[in-house]
């Protein structure tokens, strides 16, 4: 009797590029991250066929979550058609059998760099953000061991101090992206490099958000219905980017986050940053039947 006779014939036991043990490790860390909202969980960060810093953290979380019934949308700076976004989306689909989409409403997993989609996400959707620097204290405390102690002590005095000094020096808070935000009243996180415009979308959101940094080997999460409060002084209100009145030159919609395109004559043109929303708006204007979901911002005001 040979060994082959005693064992089952070989068959693939895993899909989605990562092997089962790697997925299991990430899944355990994801559960931990959900259990302690905003707290950074270290994980192994395996090799994926992409350079570190190009979204490997987000990709690993996506590959762990994905299954053949998933529908995957990948955005890069709001656009679905960027080289990086298209390549990641095709890769995920090829290794898992998941369907690809550009439509936020159709997706079950949205992997994103820099933006949260403008259309409101639902309970059955997961947002995966690629994070370059997961540590909000890095700017004030280069020593990561001390930074971890500061998180444990909830010692965020120095973060507040940088905001104080921005107001003293410039008269307003200059922090544009990755605005430090208090999650569930306990841990301060840096919500990826998303603009200030997108931070209120994470507050009490219906969807689950994972933020994963592949190079730094850390992931953290904002569970559904969790408070995300940007750090602000009680007498200096939180201001989002001044985009409420800008009009998209291609789709004609306004009240959303815009990309600024410098023109030859020194002026700027604007295009809506969430490209699929722009496409839908154009199709709608041309008379096609497209479903545009409810958006977080309406007429440039946060609606929830």
């Amino acid at each position: 009797m040979s060994l082959a006779a005693l064992t089952r014939p070989w068959a693939a036991t895993s899909y989605g590029f990562l092997d089962a043990s790697a997925k299991r490790e990430i899944r355990r860390k994801m559960i931990k991250a959900i259990a302690v909202p905003g707290c950074q969980m270290p994980y192994a960060s395996r090799e994926v066929p992409m350079a570190r810093g190009w979204g490997t953290g987000g990709l690993q979380v996506t590959l762990t979550l994905v299954n053949p019934r998933s529908v995957v949308k990948v955005i890069d700076q709001g656009a679905d058609d960027g080289v990086n976004a298209a390549s990641i989306r095709r890769f995920v689909s090829r290794v898992s059998g998941a369907a690809e989409t550009w439509d936020t409403l159709a997706a079950t997993i949205v992997q994103s760099r820099h933006r949260v989609p403008e259309e409101v996400m639902r309970e059955d959707q997961v947002l995966v953000l690629q994070v370059p620097n997961p540590e909000p204290l890095r700017g004030v405390e280069p020593n990561i061991s001390i930074a971890r102690q500061m998180h444990a002590d909830a010692d965020y005095g120095k973060l507040w101090l940088t905001l104080y000094e921005q107001i003293v020096r410039k008269g307003r808070i200059m922090q544009g992206a990755a605005y430090p935000s208090l999650v569930n009243g306990r841990h301060v996180m840096t919500p990826s490099p998303i603009p200030r415009w997108d931070v209120p979308k994470l507050n009490m959101a219906r969807h689950l958000t994972f933020l994963s940094a592949g190079r730094e080997k850390r992931l953290f999460a904002v569970p559904p219905h969790t408070r995300v409060e940007p750090l602000v002084f009680s007498d200096r209100p939180y201001l989002v980017e001044d985009h409420a009145d800008l009009v998209c030159r291609r789709s004609g919609i306004s009240g959303y986050f815009m990309n600024e395109l410098p023109q030859d004559d020194g002026t700027s043109a604007f295009e809506v940053s969430d490209s699929n929303l722009g496409i839908k708006a154009i199709r709608h204007a041309e008379g096609e039947a497209v479903e545009i979901g409810a958006t977080w911002y309406r007429n440039g005001e946060m609606s929830q």
Binding site: D153, G157, W160, L161, V168, F233, D235
Partner: protein, 273 residues
């Protein structure tokens, strides 16, 4: 207040200082660093509103003792309590990290000899003061600004430079920023670790003058460590002389300087004067 003459038994009672409950009590503190005995069975009591001066040569254990008062270090044995509301009978060395940090931030102010220890050199001076208030939970920018200004003003820091980084300031100004930071939350106890050492004599006199004025106006309890007898003599109500980790003599400042009992103190006083 009645204007009657005190009764005879009041005249015989111990002086006011003795009847007040001490603010700070340290009992039989011992600390070894390897073979070196830094402190041995040291007892300290400090009464509210007084200035206790600790003198001694380098290595006598005075800075170690001050670090313990600021809860930066724990002894091998001994107890430490401060009369703070709700904390009267707590041995502060038994508190956990978080409680210690909060207690230090709110109730103990410290001025180090080396401003790099006490200040964030690359943040503004007013920011350094505001950080204390931020840790204590103040979240209004205008209040932070006003209170930082007030504390810097009280330590006689030139307000035109309140947003300069301490790295750009002179030594005396850096000490004033440290002082403003220490007094911003009106601490119960102010610790001064050689606050004027390294400053030139005229600046030293000005900083001491500020300290003296603060002490008079606010009745802050201070513990002042110095090897400079002149500084101790100007500032302190009571003096403790330390040598090789032990207290060799203590008493009222004038008494110790006029009539030193211990041979080491005699040597010290005569060498100085």
């Amino acid at each position: 207040m009645s204007l009657e003459l005190p009764l005879p038994h009041d005249l015989l009672a111990p002086p006011q200082l003795m009847r007040t409950e001490p603010l700070l009590t340290m009992r039989s503190i011992s600390r070894r660093f390897g073979d070196v005995e830094a402190l041995r069975d040291v007892d300290v009591t400090v009464y509210p509103g007084e200035v206790l001066g600790i003198v001694g040569e380098s290595g006598s254990g005075k800075s170690t003792l001050l670090r313990m008062m600021n809860l930066e270090d724990t002894p091998d044995s001994g107890e430490y309590s401060l009369r703070l509301p709700g904390r009267e009978d707590t041995n502060l060395f038994a508190l956990d990290r978080y409680q210690r940090r909060m207690l230090c931030a709110r109730h103990i102010g410290i001025v180090y000899q080396n401003p790099h220890l006490g200040l964030l050199m690359n943040h503004s001076s007013s920011g350094n003061v505001a950080e204390r208030l931020l840790i204590a939970g103040e979240r209004s920018f205008d209040v932070l600004r006003a209170r930082a200004r007030e504390a810097l003003d009280a330590s006689e820091f030139p307000l035109s430079r309140m947003d300069a980084r301490p790295a750009e300031l002179s030594g005396g100004m850096q000490q004033r920023v440290q002082l403003a930071k220490a007094i911003a939350l009106e601490p119960a106890l102010l610790l001064l670790d050689e606050p004027t050492t390294g400053l030139d004599v005229s600046v030293q006199a000005l900083v001491l003058d500020t300290l003296k004025r603060l002490q008079r106006d606010r009745r802050i309890t201070m513990v002042l460590v110095s090897h400079d007898l002149g500084v101790i003599r100007t500032m302190a109500d009571r003096v403790m002389v330390m040598r090789r980790g032990r207290v060799v003599e203590q008493g009222l400042a004038d008494q110790v300087f006029q009539d030193p009992q211990h041979a080491y103190t005699q040597q010290l006083v005569h060498a100085k004067l």
